[in-house]
């Protein structure tokens, strides 16, 4: 029986100070028993002599300095994992939320995980077909990658994420696949959208969901992504499944982190976020990947909303430095009615080069991808110029590029949220568009490929 302390001294925001403790360890999990028998969880943030500073994982409502009892459990925060988790919905703290029974644990896992030894990692190089041309063709996703969606309020990131979860498949389709979904601070409607979509497409049976809604305690959000990733690790590396982790919204997670940091009166980094935000986010994102000798993998698609559409805001900025690329949604394209409104130029998949080409997608993939980027970029420049000076001011070739850019947005990018295109269709469509341009403009494509695929005059 763990020792019980009735020595709560301060409760302020998410922090609590417990005095005169003995044998309490850093990062240890504690439970607080309220006078009505409720249990709340907390963890040790700092231990200084006999004082333990703890961070609550749940709301502090009802905690009394007089009557509250604290027990330290001699372990970190853990999650009970089992294959039966599939098809279930949990709270942000890992408690069943769907009215079903408790999970009979196969084992208990520390939610903080342990870093993967870089020498044990296997390089992600298996192409995942999402059926979305702007991703498959230009910003290819591979198994074990972490590719966030940078969105902003009012943009349809949820629909794109659901589309990916629905359509994603690998070309060799015989393996076990699962989705782990974590909601942090999103609205009921958004979370409901995902649940419905998963149910509609039958994905719910192979999904594990952790839901922390906007009205749930903000502080709980610090544990939620770790719960989800722990479940993902179990499914991937113990159950040999290929796991797609969708997480929304990282911005709310970072805000919860800031709340704790502010309460501790730490020296803030940019915009009040703690200086260790990078390290903290990395401890989540880096849990994606493949491990040598293991069949399963974790592919991670976190979603974040950029405050004020600002890509240099610390949350998207630090995320971009850790993840292997980003898919950026554009308000302008969204306004023009293009769906999904993927802004392909600033979007990027760093691992694409290893997942494409002969034997994976098609021999012409890398070359056409570069050419499409270059041509679209030039077309956008031309369009910009024509806005100022009128179309007449453009040279003949620039006019062609401008036309290309329009066609590219309408046909290539805007495919709708329900269409799934095979990679062959995507690549062929690319050639259809490139064939609008004269052959000698296609400098980034090898000659033999032009001879084989070019359809223009």
């Amino acid at each position: 029986m763990a020792k019980e302390y009735r020595t709560i001294e301060d409760v302020a925001g998410p922090l609590m100070l417990v005095r005169n403790v003995k044998d309490v360890k850093y990062d240890e999990l504690g439970e607080i028993e309220l006078v009505n028998g409720d249990i709340r969880y907390c963890k040790v943030l700092e231990i200084d002599g006999e004082d333990a500073l703890v961070q609550l994982f749940e709301s502090s409502i009802g905690i009394s300095v007089n009557t509250g009892k604290v027990r330290f459990l001699g372990r970190g925060l853990e999650l009970a994992v089992a294959a039966d988790m599939l098809g279930r919905v949990f709270s942000g703290m890992g408690q069943p939320k769907d009215g079903g029974p408790e999970i009979i644990p196969d084992k208990m896992m520390d939610v903080n995980g342990t870093p993967i030894n870089p020498a044990a990692r296997d390089y992600p190089n298996e192409f995942i077909e999402t059926g979305v041309s702007a991703i498959d063709g230009l910003n290819t996703l591979v198994r074990g990658q972490k590719l966030p969606i940078f969105s902003a309020s009012g943009l349809p990131h949820a629909r794109l994420a659901a589309q990916i979860a629905r359509q994603a498949r690998v070309l060799d389709d015989s393996e076990k696949f699962a989705v782990v979904f974590a909601a942090m601070g999103i609205t009921f409607e958004e979370s409901d959208f995902f649940i419905r979509d998963f149910r509609r497409t039958g994905a719910l049976d192979r999904a594990v969901m952790f839901i922390n809604l906007a009205d749930d305690p903000a502080i709980e959000r610090i544990a939620t992504p770790r719960m989800a990733l722990t479940a993902a690790e179990y499914l991937a590396f113990d159950q040999d499944m290929h796991v797609l982790v969708l997480m929304t919204d990282i911005t709310y997670y970072a805000e919860a982190l800031r709340e704790v940091s502010a309460a501790r009166k730490e020296v803030p980094g940019r915009r009040g976020y703690p200086g260790y935000l990078y390290t903290d986010l990395a401890s989540l994102y880096e849990r994606a990947g493949r491990i040598k000798g293991k069949k399963g993998s974790i592919t991670f698609v976190p979603i974040l909303t950029m405050p004020d559409d600002d890509k240099t805001h610390p949350i998207p900025d630090l995320t971009g430095y850790i993840t292997e690329g980003q898919v950026i949604l554009s308000r302008e394209l969204h306004r023009s009615g293009y769906a999904p409104p993927v802004d392909v130029l600033p979007s990027l998949s760093r691992l694409k080069d290893k997942g494409i080409g002969k034997g994976k997608t098609r021999e012409d993939h890398a070359n056409t991808m570069n050419q499409l980027f270059a041509a679209y970029s030039r077309g956008k420049d031309a369009k910009e110029l024509s806005v100022i000076l009128g179309e007449e001011a453009l040279s003949e070739i620039d006019r062609l590029y401008a036309k290309f850019a329009d066609a590219f947005e309408q046909e290539y990018v805007s495919q709708g949220f329900e269409t799934s295109r095979s990679i062959e269709d995507t690549l062929d469509l690319g050639w259809d568009l490139l064939s609008m341009l004269p052959k000698n403009e296609l400098k980034r494509i090898r000659e033999d490929l032009i001879d084989k695929y070019y359809k223009g005059a």
Binding site: P118, A120, Y123, G269, T279, T312, G320, P346
Partner: protein, 591 residues
């Protein structure tokens, strides 16, 4: 009997542990924390209390546990066996840990950096009776096909050799005995230890002059870094910092490359581990991994070890430099190192400087970059060693006013400024030619003219001017359109465009384009610039610019970068001649 200093933990806060009873320990001593023997380093002393940064996860530590000082500063083992390895920030071999502990990094895991069982064939180069001093080469070990590991007398040892023999030894076997001036016997092994925070000694520094050939066109031809120089690559995410660092690690002309992945992605290290063994060093023809050492402290690994990683890396680099080799160090990214520094500083409750970074950020960075250089090594054979340091910087939002970027710029000579706009256009490497600079240009120019072609630097200057003029002309076009430009200005725009697309743009993932020799770079530049020089003459003679621009040979010139190195010379001569004759034909038609 054990007289090491012992203390007791009184406080744990993340990677910072405070221990009581440590009065007799020294600053920067390495300590073992708790029964798990987690490695830490004393970074502050307050009377009896020592503040310790712990290089491993501290979850589970609590007051009352013991702290034992090893009485030595943080040191690394140097000797045969380092090449081709992957290590964490305090030089624990990660591949050995995988075998020992499994796929994840467990606390308190330990394995020595150098394999204790493996034997190396030592070939003595000194004999009994020789008087040797620190830095003298005792003998050789062929560590990899491409690298002879020179076994040196440690910097502060000296004496007369009383025994030395060739043969197969492990790194801990005695290979040589010295008798020093006081008659004391010193036993030498192939392994040395060196404290990472102290630079290894040398006789003197020499100003660098030769360029470090990297095979990257915009670097070698426009913003060269000298052998023994320092360079920084700042850029927002997605602008290709890591690709540039990888390209340099692959192709830069060096005997040894130390790649420090400091707080970056795990998969990037895996990429290096899997790709490098497949690639061939253009200089020796052997696998690139045979000259590479990886220090991997990824972003999810303990933050304090990240702080140590760049010192560990540069100490290894100095060790190989001392053998007389040319060594390159790539640190990706120094911003993550600075963040580790900031995190420790915050936990120590120090008064912060800019953006929460500690006030000593600038001086720490300067110390790191100053450890680069061309030096006359210790030892009586007068050899020179070269250490080139290239650091990536990841400024928030790409904003160069960031304290890490600013402090770095004060310490380095070359600045490759990566531009997200170029990256969006997939112009890689996204080195912005208007804002980047190299303070070595002048020295390197002279070298290029002497060693490659006598008009190389002139071509480069003209090309640079053309690119500058292009940006001014672009402004005009944006305001009043193409039609307002004179024919000569249009030629400038056209020539600059082909410089950008056909010279500066370089595809790292293309087998041929990934590396371009200096000779071929010169030839490309010369072909592209002759279009401009000759075009000007042609327009001066009232030729039609439309026909000039549409000359079919221009496509062939543009595709010259795809020509393999061994065929480049013949192709160049052919293109050069054909261009002249085609132009002459055009002249004749116009008349």
């Amino acid at each position: 009997m054990d007289n090491r200093v012992r203390g007791e933990i009184i406080k744990v806060s993340g990677p910072l542990v405070v221990a009581h009873g440590m009065r007799d320990a020294n600053m920067f001593d390495v300590v073992e924390v708790s029964e798990q023997k987690l490695i830490g380093e004393i970074i502050e002393m307050h009377g009896d209390d020592a503040s310790i940064q712990v290089y491993e996860e501290t979850a589970g530590l609590g007051p009352g546990e013991t702290v034992v000082s090893r009485g030595l500063p943080l040191s690394v083992e140097l000797g045969p066996g380092l090449i081709g390895g992957i290590y964490d920030g305090i030089l624990r071999p990660l591949d050995v840990l995988v075998e020992q502990e499994g796929n994840r990094i467990k606390k308190g895991a330990f394995a020595p950096a150098l394999n204790r069982e493996k034997t190396w064939t030592f070939e003595a180069r000194c004999k009994v009776g020789d008087r040797v001093f620190g830095g003298d080469i005792l003998g050789l070990v062929q560590e990899t096909e491409s690298l002879a590991h020179r076994i040196m007398v440690p910097p502060h040892a000296a004496g007369e050799i009383t025994s030395i023999e060739s043969g197969d030894f492990t790194v801990t076997d005695t290979i040589c005995r010295l008798k020093d001036d006081r008659g004391k016997t010193i036993e030498l092994t192939m392994m040395q230890r060196w404290p990472v925070r102290i630079g290894r000694p040398y006789i003197e520094k020499i100003a660098p002059e030769e360029p470090l050939v990297t095979g990257q066109r915009s670097i070698d031809s426009f913003f060269p870094v000298a052998k023994g120089g320092t360079a920084a690559v700042p850029g927002p995410f997605g602008s290709g910092k890591t690709v540039i660092q990888h390209q340099l690690a692959k192709w830069a002309e060096a005997d040894v490359v130390v790649y420090i992945g400091c707080g970056e992605r795990g998969n990037e290290m895996t990429d290096v581990l899997m790709e490098f063994p497949q690639l061939e060093d253009p200089k020796t023809g052997y696998s690139l991994m045979k000259r590479t050492i990886l220090i991997a402290n990824t972003s999810d690994m303990p933050v304090a070890a990240r702080e140590a990683s760049i010192y560990t890396g540069i100490t290894i680099a100095e060790y190989f430099r001392d053998m007389g080799y040319s060594v390159s160090v790539m640190a990706d990214s120094t911003s993550r190192w600075a963040e580790a520094l900031r995190e420790m500083s915050g936990r120590l409750e120090e008064m912060p400087g800019e953006e929460g970074y500690p006030a000593y950020l600038g001086s720490r960075l300067a110390v790191f970059y100053e450890r680069a250089g061309t030096v006359r090594c210790l030892g009586s054979d007068n050899r020179t060693g070269i250490l080139t340091a290239i650091g990536a910087v990841s400024p928030p939002g790409g904003d160069l006013s960031d304290p890490v970027a600013q402090s770095t710029l004060r310490s380095v000579q070359v600045f490759w400024s990566l531009d997200s706009q170029l990256a969006y256009r997939r112009h890689f490497p996204a080195i912005n030619w208007l804002t980047s600079y190299s303070l070595y240009s002048q020295k390197v120019d002279a070298w290029l003219d002497d060693n490659v072609a006598k008009d190389y630097s002139q071509l480069r200057k003209d090309a640079m001017r053309l690119l500058q003029e292009e940006s001014a002309l672009e402004e005009i076009v944006r305001l009043i359109g193409h039609d307002a430009l004179s024919e000569e200005d249009r030629l400038k725009l056209e020539a600059a465009r082909s410089l950008r697309e056909d010279f500066l743009h370089q595809n790292s993932f293309d087998e041929i384009d990934t590396f371009t020799s200096l000779k071929k770079q010169y030839r490309m530049l010369s072909l592209l610039m002759s279009f401009y020089y000759e075009g000007r003459r042609f327009l001066g003679a009232k030729g039609s610019y439309d026909r000039l621009f549409k000359m079919p040979i221009r496509d062939d010139i543009a595709r010259f970068k795809q020509v393999p190195e061994e065929k480049a010379e013949a192709r160049y001569e052919e293109l050069k001649a054909r261009f002249q004759s085609d132009l002459a034909a055009l002249h004749a038609e116009e008349k």
